[in-house]
Symmetry: C2
């Protein structure tokens, strides 16, 4: 519990010092301080040569501050990092993010210097994230201790071993309106590592799923041990970089870690209940599913998914993706078929997927969703919509129909949405997301989300 | 050759009649005429009750027009389709798109009516696309004979058996700035089918690759026979819907065709040199690769890909995807390593992928691209960039560096780009695309493009 409290300072500090805060837009210390200025807690720029940084009164040292900051961000040139860290210790700082690079990732000399940083931190009881990282973000506390743009608020915690890739994922999630709860670029993991963060995030109410980009683990057994405990309560989705020969070689020079034998990772992840994703989109799609309840798991028969659509082809592609991933899209029971036939036009295909054809309106989505959710033989619903071409129809009414059915019945079954058509369906997508239904634009993303829910449900049925 | 000339009327007609053109925005005939109004040829609205449609003088019948339209689009209620088609025949129309639905897809009665349409067309020597389709688009002639938005101009021909899905793909390509040369929604394929279109498109200079969404083929052997010939000259990429059990059942009710045993399709595609894609994005990415020259194919050793990046993680993920798909990312020759070491900072990883680290600028992209392109052991280059975080740098300078190297050397090797970071890199992406380099945002898309080039190169080495 004490350990958790310490990590809390990285995300919800009362006061933050930025050591190396700068007025020069060509320095990372400029962006970091600019991002942090909006934080609700006190944020102090530390700069040895300036009285003000970005209009805020600056201090020469973290030791001169009017209060003890619980978090310090170090973004000074490498030669000043050690002294800055020692001053943090003397000042009573609890958590330090070291953005500066040039340590363990550069070779044995840098590794030695990195160990010295850890010794300083241990001596003062501080924890370090980094060095050689992009920083830390918490969209719920409003803390952005990085030099990249603010992520959108959400419930997926993202931890990345690659800083630049992590930054690129942030930009991507912003563009695609995907929300994150926290972002941690772990850098060289001199001190705080994946296992520490897993423990902390497993207790974090704002994070419903934990997504990790991992290149290599220093202490695999400890990671797997912690992960095994965490996955009983919260899903962990991993994207493993460096799975094959040349990519594994690249990992060695990139994060200075060993990619290791992928088959061993694969088996260990499986045993620990960690869900593996193949791509960034799959990782994010899987993680986004977990604002939903888990489906009933039917053992060998997997999970039964109901698909409803206003476009045959979209239903076909989604069903292909679901079946490829081992989910079942079962035939409907005669009773359900009867109920659907009562309300759908003769041209509709009353099977699973239910093809309501292009004329389907919001009311049809509402009624069909209700019937499918009420069927005890179906454990999950995916509502599919391509942009309606009939006049006076916008996909938003379809979205509303689905949301109305879900809220009215409150069956505790997971519901996902696949709304294809780019910009045209973005309003519908926003509406669904706001109402807690994860919404995807690509069949494979919706299917990955469904798969993750099924895998987690399966995992929790194990003793 | 005669057949080809007839199909030409679907894409480059001198005059077009829209039978069912409407002033009522709730009718498809409204959208179709609105889209066609911008066409450079003459476009005539046919409407039995109105003197003007959307401000354009209307005619009661296609037979009353001042000239013979080579293309007619029929978008009248079903009961008027047969008469309208017969009038087209009498008037001397050569090509007819029938958008109206309610024929073969509805059962045996509809199928009979559909056969009657074909008989009428045959009697007059007309060709039909449809019925039950979204229409036809040609971004080079400027013809949009559909009720969906204009696609962006490009060199990928897209043919879809699902109209609504085809429409959704159009919206998606517009959102993602992906260009198409032609779009054909084939509908029920009462007359013109995939094989006819393949033959025509294989001769079409504006289409460098043909992408097909197929649910089921009426005449599989004929398709494969034609495809086998076409793939010697131009790549065909297929996304097959209805591969697995439930999805195959859905196909039967959707397009009225049999999805068939997927294993048989799979083998036949392979034999015909048709490249299979698993998803819409993969299909589009693969097709987009073909404005590039084909790489050298090294038999068992596949194709040798060089990867350069400013972010280790992005290089790792791309390399994983390339290796997963059977491409080789070989170690570099000592001579190339020596040349790279001369120009890169010590912190850079001089292997393949070449990690130039985050400080890399446009000049570095230029010099590294040149060295890699000059290496006779490397057949293809993928330039990777995540948004640079250093001040005064925009990914556009990286893009310019790559383009400069490619133009200066003109090696005839294919070059692809992976520029990750959403909005932030969209200018760089536009610049690369404008300069003929297919650019992707996701590692798996870039890898799929590379794989498609390798597969086509392999196919052409076969006797």
């Amino acid at each position: 519990m004490k350990e958790l409290n310490v990590l809390r300072h990285f995300f919800k500090p009362k006061a933050v010092a930025v050591i190396g805060a700068s007025d020069d837009p060509s320095k990372l210390g400029y962006d970091v301080f600019k991002n942090l200025k909006n934080y609700s807690g006190h944020v102090y720029p530390i700069n040895v040569r300036r009285e003000f940084v970005q209009g805020v009164k600056a201090y020469r040292s973290v030791k001169n501050l009017p209060e003890i900051p619980d978090l310090a961000v170090i973004v000074v040139p490498k030669k000043f990092v050690k002294t800055s860290l020692a001053e943090c210790g003397e000042a009573g700082v609890k958590a330090v993010v070291i953005i500066t690079a040039g340590f363990g990732e550069t070779g044995s000399e840098g590794a030695k210097e990195e160990r010295e940083l850890v010794e300083i931190a241990r001596a003062y009881g501080m924890r370090i994230i980094g060095p050689n990282c992009v920083g830390v973000m918490d969209t719920w506390s409003g803390l952005n201790a990085t030099f990249v743009m603010n992520a959108k608020r959400g419930y997926v915690a993202l931890v990345s071993q690659s800083g630049a890739l992590g930054g690129a994922i942030i930009y991507k999630t912003v563009k695609e309106s995907i929300g994150l709860s926290k972002f941690v670029s772990v850098g060289n993991m001199a001190d705080v590592d994946f296992a520490d963060l897993l423990k902390y995030l497993s207790e974090d109410k704002e994070s419903k799923a934990i997504a990790l980009y991992i290149e290599g683990l220093r202490n695999g057994p400890r990671f797997m041990d912690v992960a095994r405990g965490v996955t009983r309560r919260k899903p962990i989705i991993v994207l493993k970089g460096g799975r094959y020969g040349a990519a594994a070689r690249a990992v060695a020079s990139h994060t200075g870690s060993l990619a290791g034998n992928y088959r061993i990772y694969e088996a260990a992840f499986k045993q620990a209940g960690v869900i593996e994703a193949e791509t960034i989109d799959e990782m994010l799609s899987m993680a986004r599913a977990f604002n939903q309840p888990l489906p009933k798991y039917r053992g060998e028969a997997s999970v039964h998914v109901a698909v409803m659509t206003n476009a045959g082809g979209a239903g076909v592609l989604l069903t292909d993706e679901l079946e490829k991933r081992g989910l079942k899209v079962p035939q409907l029971r005669p009773e359900t078929i009867g109920r659907l036939k009562e309300i759908l036009p003769p041209i509709a295909a009353v099977k699973n997927p239910v093809d309501m054809v292009a004329s389907a309106r919001g009311e049809d989505y509402y009624r069909v969703a209700k019937i499918l959710l009420q069927d005890q033989d179906l454990d999950m619903l995916v509502a599919v919509c391509v942009v309606p071409t009939f006049a006076g129809m916008s996909p938003t009414e379809h979205a509303e129909g689905v949301v109305r059915a879900v809220k009215e019945l409150n069956t505790g079954k997971p519901v996902l949405a696949l709304f294809m058509a780019g910009e045209v369906s973005s309003k519908a997508r926003d509406y669904l997301e706001k109402n807690g239904i994860p919404t995807f634009e690509r069949p494979e993303d919706a299917a990955a989300a469904a798969e993750a829910l099924a895998l987690q449900a399966k995992h929790l049925t194990l003793p």
